[in-house]
């Protein structure tokens, strides 16, 4: 699958592979965090980036095809709980499901777990399609 649907480039692209796509913007995405990931330098991986990771995962699942890909941006975060901050070497799994939609505004529920299935974060993000 092409990554063209995501407008982000390294080092601000965190989602790196679609593992399973069970419907439009519903499925599972993987994010491998390396020490080269910009966000891991210095103070570590900020909690807010986990919400961005859920949004990128949702848009990646929703785009699916470079020609049809949709662009969007993180517009809101709600009820987002971080169990632990990820570290270099973590391979995260992000499960995403659509919670609701109105026009170009879409809310997604996301659950982030580590390779052992341990909780990393869960919560909702709202994405606006188009460019900020």
């Amino acid at each position: 699958m092409s990554f063209q649907p995501l407008p982000h480039a390294f080092p601000f692209r965190f989602a790196d592979a679609v593992l399973e796509r069970t419907g439009p913007a519903v499925g599972r995405v993987r994010a491998s965090l390396t020490s080269n990931t910009e966000a891991l330098r210095g103070a570590g991986f900020p909690a807010a980036i986990l919400a961005e990771l859920v949004a990128q995962s949702a848009l990646l699942l929703q785009g699916g095809d470079a020609a049809l890909g949709k662009k969007g941006f993180l517009a809101g975060i709600s009820d987002f709980v971080v169990a632990r901050l990820p570290a270099a070497g973590d391979v995260l799994t992000i499960d995403v499901a659509i919670a609701g939609r109105l026009g170009d505004t879409v809310k997604f529920d996301g659950v982030v777990t580590d390779a052992e299935g341990g909780a990393v974060a869960r919560g909702s993000v709202t994405v606006k399609h188009g460019r900020a």
Binding site: G76, S78, R101, K107
Partner: protein, 87 residues
Amino acid sequence: MSDDLKKRVKELIVRQLKLEVDPATIADDAPLFGDADGGLGLDSIDALELVLGVEKEFGIKVQDEEVGVKAFASVNALCEFVRQKAA
């Protein structure tokens, strides 16, 4: 229009959007969106939250953005929308 429905709708707005206002202070005909005087100043993100709240509270789906814009114009408009859909 039933005062009970208006009270329920105002409480829904405050609860769903986590507003720090007394539901009773929301005027029935005040615009919910935009920066008009007396309005709540809600935006499109709030509109989606209201869509989800209306679905959860009343079991009514708002799937069309145009319908949503009209339905969420004010407390009175939202009550009328709920009343019509529930009829």
